[in-house]
């Protein structure tokens, strides 16, 4: 029986095969995963906001796209992953509610996804798959043996990316 580690909001964790990382009910937040296919080291972060720089209360690094991705990278490297082999997958960033007139706060999911992509590009980590946007929630599971990311929804099916 492989170990399942659950990651909450504004949290992250890493694991070495065997095991599964999961985060339940992603809405506008984004789930970022890093995976080294040779050492089979996997990491997952559940970030809430695009940037730690515009927020006064920013002590929790895992809450933000910029500091969260950086910390996740440090943690998988610590466990023995090779930086050059790391592959990333993303899920989440939905817009759960919509209003007729434009509202910046309502676009937070989209802004989160853009921010994560920018950080990964700066860190030169390729994004090989994503399931982002839309108006529905997602539960994700990352399998350390294969690197497969399973995305489950209510009413929008289940898929592997």
């Amino acid at each position: 029986m492989s170990e399942i580690k659950k990651i909450g909001m504004a949290d992250l964790n890493v694991i070495k095969n065997p095991g599964i990382l999961t985060t339940l009910g992603l809405g506008s937040c984004v789930g970022i995963t890093l995976y080294d296919p040779i050492t089979k080291i996997a990491g997952m972060a559940h970030i809430m906001l695009p940037s730690s720089k515009t927020i006064r209360n920013n002590t929790n690094a895992a809450k933000f796209a910029d500091t969260g991705t950086q910390l996740l990278l440090e943690e998988v490297l610590k466990l023995g992953a090779s930086r050059g082999r790391l592959l990333s997958k993303l899920a989440g960033g939905a817009q759960m509610f919509s209003f007729a007139n434009k509202n910046d706060i309502m676009k937070i999911g989209e802004r989160n996804v853009i921010a994560v992509k920018e950080v990964l590009q700066e860190l030169r980590i390729p994004i090989i798959a994503e399931d982002t946007g839309g108006n529905f929630g997602r539960t994700i599971e990352l399998y350390a043996d294969s690197g497969i990311l399973l995305v489950k929804t209510i009413g929008h099916g289940t898929k592997q990316i």
């Binding site: 339940l24 009910g25 992603l26 809405g27 506008s28 927020i55 209360n57 919509s98 929630g137």
Partner: protein, 205 residues
């Protein structure tokens, strides 16, 4: 600079809790009038919780829930969300439509009914807030989403997340006959509005 939930003192918290009590009480009365039945209400619980504790209240991140979201406009700005488990929403629409539909899904009529209930509950909540503070406060038309609790809750949690790591919520339990409905109000003033709110209540230091 705004004030965060972590910086609130005991008196400020008590005042916010009292607003929660009065607001939820008026909301229950409004619902009773709407369905023309006697509604019992437990004393609402007003809590300040860590992010991670919030989904547990409603049965976990993957529990299907119904969220009704409003923008708050006027002297203070922000958002209000009324959240209830899908099962509770069904009980409410069954009460309103005087039927006993046991299915899990919500059809279009039920969705629009629950939206209207959310509208009336949140409207009466806001009008008590407005009366207590002497502030002009209005709510927008509602937006409805039915999905996993975690996903719906991410919306108020993210907005609170810009201020700190806690949320303020009011838990209300309504009972009509055999039906029991548990609902949660999230009041999410924008950062600057928190100060306006507290100062109009006379509890800003």
């Amino acid at each position: 600079m705004g004030i965060t939930l972590d910086e609130l003192n005991g008196i400020q918290l008590d005042v916010l809790k009292e607003i929660g009590n009065i607001g939820a009480g008026n909301a229950a009365t409004a619902l009773a009038k709407m369905i023309d039945k006697k509604i019992d209400m437990n004393v609402p619980k007003v809590q300040i919780l860590e992010f991670k504790e919030v989904p547990e209240l409603i049965g976990g991140e993957e529990t299907p829930v119904c969220g009704i979201y409003f923008r708050v406009e006027g002297d203070i700005t922000g958002h209000i969300m009324f959240l209830l488990a899908l099962k509770s929403s069904k009980s409410l629409t069954n009460m309103l439509m005087a039927r006993d539909d046991e299915t899990e899904a919500m059809d279009e009529i039920e969705q629009s009914a629950i939206q209207e209930i959310g509208n009336i509950l949140s409207g009466s909540y806001v009008s008590s807030l407005s009366a207590l503070t002497n502030l002009n406060i209005k709510i927008s038309i509602p937006s409805l989403a039915i999905d996993m609790a975690g996903a719906i809750l991410s919306v108020p949690v993210i907005q609170y997340g810009q201020m700190g790591d806690k949320v303020l919520l009011i838990e209300t339990e309504l009972i009509e006959g055999g039906h029991q409905v548990k609902g949660f109000f999230f009041l999410i003033p924008d950062m600057e509005s928190f100060e306006t709110l507290l100062s109009s209540l006379g509890v800003l230091k």
